[in-house]
Amino acid sequence: MITYADACRVLNESRGEAVAVTTMTQTKYWNQISKEPDLDIGIANGMSKASSVALGLALGDPERSVLCLDADGSLLMNFGSLATIAGMAPKNLYHFVFNNGIYSVTGGQPLPTAGVEYAKAAEACGYASTHRFEDVESLDSALPEILRSPGPVLIEIIVKGEPQAEGVDQTWESNAKMPLQLRALRKRLTGNDDWGPGGPFI
Protein backbone atom coordinates (compact mmCIF):
# COMPACT_ATOMS: atom_id res chain seq x y z
CA MET A 1 0.00 0.00 0.00
CA ILE A 2 1.29 3.44 -0.95
CA THR A 3 1.03 6.70 0.97
CA TYR A 4 -0.36 9.84 -0.65
CA ALA A 5 2.92 11.61 0.06
CA ASP A 6 5.01 8.96 -1.68
CA ALA A 7 2.69 8.70 -4.68
CA CYS A 8 2.67 12.46 -5.20
CA ARG A 9 6.43 12.66 -4.76
CA VAL A 10 7.03 10.03 -7.43
CA LEU A 11 4.58 11.66 -9.84
CA ASN A 12 6.10 15.07 -9.29
CA GLU A 13 9.60 13.74 -10.08
CA SER A 14 8.43 12.58 -13.52
CA ARG A 15 6.05 15.43 -14.19
CA GLY A 16 8.17 17.65 -16.44
CA GLU A 17 6.02 20.49 -17.77
CA ALA A 18 2.78 18.55 -17.73
CA VAL A 19 -0.42 20.15 -16.53
CA ALA A 20 -1.58 18.60 -13.24
CA VAL A 21 -5.29 18.44 -12.41
CA THR A 22 -5.79 17.32 -8.83
CA THR A 23 -8.73 16.85 -6.50
CA MET A 24 -9.46 16.09 -2.85
CA THR A 25 -6.57 14.73 -0.72
CA GLN A 26 -4.26 14.65 -3.75
CA THR A 27 -4.50 18.47 -3.99
CA LYS A 28 -3.32 18.81 -0.40
CA TYR A 29 -0.18 16.76 -0.96
CA TRP A 30 0.49 18.02 -4.49
CA ASN A 31 0.46 21.65 -3.41
CA GLN A 32 3.20 20.90 -0.87
CA ILE A 33 5.68 19.67 -3.48
CA SER A 34 4.76 21.06 -6.89
CA LYS A 35 7.42 23.21 -8.51
CA GLU A 36 5.11 24.37 -11.31
CA PRO A 37 2.12 25.99 -9.60
CA ASP A 38 1.16 27.81 -12.81
CA LEU A 39 0.53 24.40 -14.37
CA ASP A 40 -1.60 23.11 -11.48
CA ILE A 41 -5.36 23.05 -11.04
CA GLY A 42 -6.82 21.89 -7.75
CA ILE A 43 -10.44 21.09 -8.54
CA ALA A 44 -12.63 22.43 -5.76
CA ASN A 45 -16.27 23.41 -6.08
CA GLY A 46 -16.48 20.97 -8.95
CA MET A 47 -17.34 17.69 -7.28
CA SER A 48 -15.99 14.66 -9.16
CA LYS A 49 -15.17 16.56 -12.34
CA ALA A 50 -11.35 16.47 -12.34
CA SER A 51 -11.30 13.84 -15.09
CA SER A 52 -13.59 15.92 -17.31
CA VAL A 53 -11.60 19.13 -16.84
CA ALA A 54 -8.45 17.15 -17.61
CA LEU A 55 -10.04 15.80 -20.79
CA GLY A 56 -10.84 19.34 -21.94
CA LEU A 57 -7.28 20.48 -21.25
CA ALA A 58 -5.81 17.47 -23.06
CA LEU A 59 -7.98 18.05 -26.12
CA GLY A 60 -7.33 21.78 -26.07
CA ASP A 61 -3.54 21.50 -25.86
CA PRO A 62 -2.64 18.17 -27.48
CA GLU A 63 1.11 18.87 -27.49
CA ARG A 64 1.33 18.99 -23.68
CA SER A 65 0.85 16.07 -21.30
CA VAL A 66 -1.97 16.32 -18.78
CA LEU A 67 -1.87 14.40 -15.50
CA CYS A 68 -5.14 13.91 -13.66
CA LEU A 69 -4.76 12.93 -9.99
CA ASP A 70 -8.28 11.62 -9.46
CA ALA A 71 -9.88 9.94 -6.44
CA ASP A 72 -11.86 6.70 -6.41
CA GLY A 73 -14.94 8.25 -4.81
CA SER A 74 -14.78 11.15 -7.24
CA LEU A 75 -14.46 8.89 -10.25
CA LEU A 76 -17.44 6.84 -9.11
CA MET A 77 -19.54 10.02 -9.29
CA ASN A 78 -18.33 10.68 -12.84
CA PHE A 79 -17.85 7.11 -14.02
CA GLY A 80 -19.12 7.81 -17.51
CA SER A 81 -16.09 10.02 -18.04
CA LEU A 82 -14.04 6.82 -18.48
CA ALA A 83 -16.05 6.01 -21.58
CA THR A 84 -15.97 9.61 -22.80
CA ILE A 85 -12.19 9.84 -22.40
CA ALA A 86 -11.69 6.53 -24.19
CA GLY A 87 -13.99 7.76 -26.95
CA MET A 88 -11.99 10.93 -27.55
CA ALA A 89 -8.70 9.03 -27.04
CA PRO A 90 -6.37 11.93 -26.14
CA LYS A 91 -2.81 10.64 -26.49
CA ASN A 92 -1.56 13.13 -23.88
CA LEU A 93 -3.85 12.26 -20.95
CA TYR A 94 -2.59 10.22 -17.96
CA HIS A 95 -5.37 9.46 -15.51
CA PHE A 96 -4.19 8.47 -12.02
CA VAL A 97 -6.82 7.08 -9.67
CA PHE A 98 -5.94 7.07 -5.98
CA ASN A 99 -7.86 4.09 -4.63
CA ASN A 100 -8.34 4.04 -0.86
CA GLY A 101 -11.92 2.75 -0.69
CA ILE A 102 -13.17 5.58 1.51
CA TYR A 103 -14.45 9.15 1.40
CA SER A 104 -11.45 10.79 3.04
CA VAL A 105 -12.60 14.39 3.35
CA THR A 106 -15.86 13.48 5.07
CA GLY A 107 -14.19 11.36 7.70
CA GLY A 108 -13.47 7.98 6.14
CA GLN A 109 -16.85 6.42 5.35
CA PRO A 110 -16.60 3.41 3.01
CA LEU A 111 -17.46 3.73 -0.67
CA PRO A 112 -20.69 1.99 -1.71
CA THR A 113 -18.93 -0.70 -3.71
CA ALA A 114 -17.74 -4.29 -3.49
CA GLY A 115 -14.27 -3.11 -4.47
CA VAL A 116 -13.99 -1.62 -7.96
CA GLU A 117 -10.85 -2.34 -10.00
CA TYR A 118 -10.53 0.95 -11.86
CA ALA A 119 -7.74 -0.21 -14.17
CA LYS A 120 -9.94 -3.05 -15.40
CA ALA A 121 -12.89 -0.68 -15.82
CA ALA A 122 -10.77 1.70 -17.90
CA GLU A 123 -9.46 -1.17 -19.99
CA ALA A 124 -13.01 -2.29 -20.67
CA CYS A 125 -13.93 1.25 -21.69
CA GLY A 126 -11.08 1.37 -24.21
CA TYR A 127 -8.16 3.25 -22.63
CA ALA A 128 -4.95 2.73 -24.58
CA SER A 129 -3.34 1.04 -21.57
CA THR A 130 -3.91 0.59 -17.85
CA HIS A 131 -1.74 -0.17 -14.83
CA ARG A 132 -2.25 -0.94 -11.15
CA PHE A 133 0.33 -0.40 -8.40
CA GLU A 134 0.33 -1.45 -4.75
CA ASP A 135 3.91 -0.46 -3.84
CA VAL A 136 5.77 2.76 -4.48
CA GLU A 137 8.92 1.09 -5.82
CA SER A 138 7.02 -0.49 -8.72
CA LEU A 139 5.25 2.79 -9.45
CA ASP A 140 8.51 4.70 -9.37
CA SER A 141 10.32 2.38 -11.76
CA ALA A 142 7.45 2.07 -14.24
CA LEU A 143 6.28 5.68 -14.36
CA PRO A 144 8.80 7.20 -16.82
CA GLU A 145 7.95 4.60 -19.45
CA ILE A 146 4.22 4.97 -18.81
CA LEU A 147 4.44 8.73 -19.36
CA ARG A 148 6.18 8.12 -22.70
CA SER A 149 3.41 5.79 -23.88
CA PRO A 150 0.36 7.06 -25.79
CA GLY A 151 -2.73 7.89 -23.79
CA PRO A 152 -5.25 7.74 -22.55
CA VAL A 153 -3.62 5.73 -19.78
CA LEU A 154 -5.21 4.93 -16.42
CA ILE A 155 -2.86 4.27 -13.51
CA GLU A 156 -4.60 2.92 -10.41
CA ILE A 157 -2.66 3.52 -7.21
CA ILE A 158 -3.66 1.65 -4.08
CA VAL A 159 -3.16 4.18 -1.28
CA LYS A 160 -3.47 4.11 2.47
CA GLY A 161 -6.62 5.94 3.51
CA GLU A 162 -6.20 9.15 5.45
CA PRO A 163 -9.56 10.17 6.90
CA GLN A 164 -9.67 13.88 7.56
CA ALA A 165 -11.38 15.51 10.50
CA GLU A 166 -11.20 19.12 9.37
CA GLY A 167 -13.60 18.86 6.42
CA VAL A 168 -13.49 21.06 3.34
CA ASP A 169 -12.08 24.57 3.57
CA GLN A 170 -14.84 26.96 2.47
CA THR A 171 -13.72 30.55 2.77
CA TRP A 172 -13.77 33.41 0.27
CA GLU A 173 -10.01 33.09 -0.02
CA SER A 174 -9.97 29.31 -0.50
CA ASN A 175 -12.79 29.46 -3.04
CA ALA A 176 -10.91 32.10 -5.03
CA LYS A 177 -7.96 29.72 -5.52
CA MET A 178 -9.40 27.66 -8.36
CA PRO A 179 -10.60 30.57 -10.53
CA LEU A 180 -7.23 32.26 -10.04
CA GLN A 181 -5.35 29.05 -10.85
CA LEU A 182 -7.41 28.56 -13.99
CA ARG A 183 -6.53 32.06 -15.18
CA ALA A 184 -2.85 31.54 -14.42
CA LEU A 185 -2.91 28.27 -16.34
CA ARG A 186 -4.66 29.85 -19.34
CA LYS A 187 -2.02 32.58 -19.33
CA ARG A 188 0.76 29.97 -19.18
CA LEU A 189 -0.73 27.84 -21.96
CA THR A 190 -1.78 30.61 -24.34
CA GLY A 191 0.55 33.47 -23.45
CA ASN A 192 -2.48 35.74 -23.15
CA ASP A 193 -3.61 37.38 -19.92
CA ASP A 194 -7.10 37.92 -21.31
CA TRP A 195 -9.52 36.28 -18.88
CA GLY A 196 -10.86 38.93 -16.56
CA PRO A 197 -12.70 38.56 -13.27
CA GLY A 198 -16.07 36.87 -13.10
CA GLY A 199 -18.17 34.89 -10.65
CA PRO A 200 -18.59 35.33 -6.90
CA PHE A 201 -14.96 34.88 -5.83
CA ILE A 202 -12.80 37.12 -8.00
Partner: protein, 158 residues
Protein backbone atom coordinates in the same frame (compact mmCIF):
# COMPACT_ATOMS: atom_id res chain seq x y z
CA UNK B 1 -16.40 28.07 -32.06
CA UNK B 2 -13.70 25.39 -31.88
CA UNK B 3 -15.37 22.50 -30.02
CA UNK B 4 -18.99 21.40 -29.72
CA UNK B 5 -19.36 19.56 -26.40
CA UNK B 6 -22.62 17.73 -26.52
CA UNK B 7 -24.95 14.97 -25.56
CA UNK B 8 -27.37 15.00 -28.49
CA UNK B 9 -31.05 15.66 -27.93
CA UNK B 10 -34.09 15.90 -30.15
CA UNK B 11 -34.29 19.69 -30.10
CA UNK B 12 -30.70 20.30 -31.23
CA UNK B 13 -30.21 17.21 -33.40
CA UNK B 14 -30.29 19.39 -36.54
CA UNK B 15 -27.37 21.43 -35.13
CA UNK B 16 -25.45 18.25 -34.38
CA UNK B 17 -25.86 17.01 -37.94
CA UNK B 18 -24.87 20.34 -39.45
CA UNK B 19 -21.83 20.73 -37.22
CA UNK B 20 -20.68 17.18 -37.87
CA UNK B 21 -20.22 18.25 -41.47
CA UNK B 22 -18.10 21.28 -40.49
CA UNK B 23 -14.42 20.25 -40.50
CA UNK B 24 -13.23 23.25 -38.48
CA UNK B 25 -15.25 22.17 -35.44
CA UNK B 26 -14.30 19.26 -33.20
CA UNK B 27 -17.21 17.31 -31.79
CA UNK B 28 -16.80 16.21 -28.17
CA UNK B 29 -19.62 13.81 -27.28
CA UNK B 30 -19.99 13.15 -23.56
CA UNK B 31 -21.63 10.26 -21.73
CA UNK B 32 -23.62 12.40 -19.28
CA UNK B 33 -24.51 16.06 -19.33
CA UNK B 34 -22.65 16.81 -16.10
CA UNK B 35 -19.37 16.23 -17.95
CA UNK B 36 -20.05 18.88 -20.58
CA UNK B 37 -19.33 22.07 -18.63
CA UNK B 38 -16.11 20.74 -17.02
CA UNK B 39 -14.84 19.59 -20.42
CA UNK B 40 -15.66 23.01 -21.86
CA UNK B 41 -13.87 24.69 -18.95
CA UNK B 42 -10.73 22.70 -19.67
CA UNK B 43 -10.92 23.53 -23.36
CA UNK B 44 -11.31 27.23 -22.63
CA UNK B 45 -8.36 27.25 -20.25
CA UNK B 46 -6.29 25.66 -23.02
CA UNK B 47 -7.19 28.55 -25.34
CA UNK B 48 -10.09 27.02 -27.25
CA UNK B 49 -13.60 28.39 -27.83
CA UNK B 50 -16.04 25.64 -26.90
CA UNK B 51 -19.81 25.68 -26.69
CA UNK B 52 -22.02 23.21 -24.84
CA UNK B 53 -25.21 21.68 -26.22
CA UNK B 54 -27.40 19.59 -23.92
CA UNK B 55 -31.09 19.13 -23.19
CA UNK B 56 -32.98 20.86 -20.39
CA UNK B 57 -33.35 17.56 -18.52
CA UNK B 58 -29.59 17.11 -18.76
CA UNK B 59 -28.94 20.65 -17.58
CA UNK B 60 -30.71 19.76 -14.33
CA UNK B 61 -28.31 16.83 -13.91
CA UNK B 62 -25.44 19.21 -14.62
CA UNK B 63 -26.45 21.68 -11.91
CA UNK B 64 -23.42 21.29 -9.67
CA UNK B 65 -21.04 21.60 -12.61
CA UNK B 66 -22.87 24.76 -13.67
CA UNK B 67 -22.49 26.12 -10.14
CA UNK B 68 -18.86 25.30 -9.59
CA UNK B 69 -17.21 25.24 -13.00
CA UNK B 70 -19.14 27.89 -14.94
CA UNK B 71 -20.73 30.43 -12.57
CA UNK B 72 -18.10 29.83 -9.88
CA UNK B 73 -15.08 30.45 -12.09
CA UNK B 74 -16.59 33.14 -14.32
CA UNK B 75 -16.58 31.01 -17.48
CA UNK B 76 -17.69 32.81 -20.66
CA UNK B 77 -19.63 29.89 -22.13
CA UNK B 78 -22.61 29.74 -24.46
CA UNK B 79 -24.83 26.76 -23.68
CA UNK B 80 -27.39 25.61 -26.22
CA UNK B 81 -30.20 23.99 -24.27
CA UNK B 82 -32.77 21.79 -25.95
CA UNK B 83 -36.07 23.15 -24.63
CA UNK B 84 -37.89 19.82 -24.56
CA UNK B 85 -41.62 20.22 -24.17
CA UNK B 86 -41.71 23.94 -24.96
CA UNK B 87 -44.56 25.34 -27.01
CA UNK B 88 -45.81 28.81 -27.74
CA UNK B 89 -49.16 28.15 -26.09
CA UNK B 90 -47.47 27.88 -22.71
CA UNK B 91 -49.34 24.69 -21.93
CA UNK B 92 -47.14 21.64 -21.57
CA UNK B 93 -47.38 18.39 -19.68
CA UNK B 94 -43.60 18.02 -19.84
CA UNK B 95 -42.02 19.11 -16.57
CA UNK B 96 -38.64 19.33 -18.32
CA UNK B 97 -40.09 22.40 -20.05
CA UNK B 98 -42.00 23.70 -17.05
CA UNK B 99 -38.89 24.04 -14.91
CA UNK B 100 -36.33 25.31 -17.43
CA UNK B 101 -36.83 29.06 -17.19
CA UNK B 102 -37.33 29.04 -13.39
CA UNK B 103 -34.17 26.94 -13.19
CA UNK B 104 -32.18 29.47 -15.22
CA UNK B 105 -33.59 32.33 -13.16
CA UNK B 106 -32.65 30.53 -9.94
CA UNK B 107 -29.04 30.12 -11.10
CA UNK B 108 -29.07 33.71 -12.42
CA UNK B 109 -28.16 32.53 -15.91
CA UNK B 110 -29.31 34.92 -18.64
CA UNK B 111 -30.87 33.33 -21.71
CA UNK B 112 -32.71 33.72 -24.99
CA UNK B 113 -35.37 31.41 -26.39
CA UNK B 114 -35.20 30.49 -30.07
CA UNK B 115 -38.66 29.76 -31.42
CA UNK B 116 -38.17 30.56 -35.11
CA UNK B 117 -35.57 31.73 -37.62
CA UNK B 118 -36.59 35.28 -36.71
CA UNK B 119 -34.90 34.75 -33.35
CA UNK B 120 -31.53 33.67 -34.71
CA UNK B 121 -30.03 37.14 -34.40
CA UNK B 122 -30.01 36.42 -30.65
CA UNK B 123 -27.24 33.85 -31.04
CA UNK B 124 -24.32 36.23 -31.72
CA UNK B 125 -25.61 38.44 -28.93
CA UNK B 126 -25.40 35.47 -26.59
CA UNK B 127 -21.71 35.03 -27.45
CA UNK B 128 -21.09 38.75 -26.91
CA UNK B 129 -22.84 38.72 -23.54
CA UNK B 130 -20.96 35.65 -22.31
CA UNK B 131 -17.63 37.20 -23.28
CA UNK B 132 -18.49 40.60 -21.82
CA UNK B 133 -19.73 39.31 -18.47
CA UNK B 134 -17.47 36.25 -18.02
CA UNK B 135 -20.54 34.20 -17.24
CA UNK B 136 -22.40 31.37 -18.94
CA UNK B 137 -25.29 32.35 -21.21
CA UNK B 138 -28.04 29.96 -22.32
CA UNK B 139 -29.75 29.75 -25.71
CA UNK B 140 -32.85 27.58 -25.38
CA UNK B 141 -33.91 25.84 -28.59
CA UNK B 142 -37.67 25.35 -28.58
CA UNK B 143 -39.23 22.06 -29.56
CA UNK B 144 -41.43 23.70 -32.17
CA UNK B 145 -38.41 25.32 -33.82
CA UNK B 146 -36.71 21.95 -33.96
CA UNK B 147 -39.79 20.46 -35.64
CA UNK B 148 -39.89 23.27 -38.18
CA UNK B 149 -36.22 23.09 -39.09
CA UNK B 150 -35.37 21.16 -42.27
CA UNK B 151 -33.63 18.28 -40.52
CA UNK B 152 -35.47 18.51 -37.22
CA UNK B 153 -36.91 15.50 -35.49
CA UNK B 154 -40.18 15.00 -33.69
CA UNK B 155 -38.90 12.29 -31.39
CA UNK B 156 -38.95 12.96 -27.70
CA UNK B 157 -36.25 12.77 -25.11
CA UNK B 158 -32.60 11.93 -25.37
Amino acid sequence: MSHYVTLPDSETAHMYEALMAEPSITMVPVSREGEAIPVAAGLFVAGQNPVVSIQNAGLYEAGDALRGLALGIGLPLVMFIGYRGHNRMGDTADTAAKYLEPFLHMWRVDYFVIESDDDLDRVPIAFERAAKTNQPFAVAIGTEYAKESPSGTESEGE
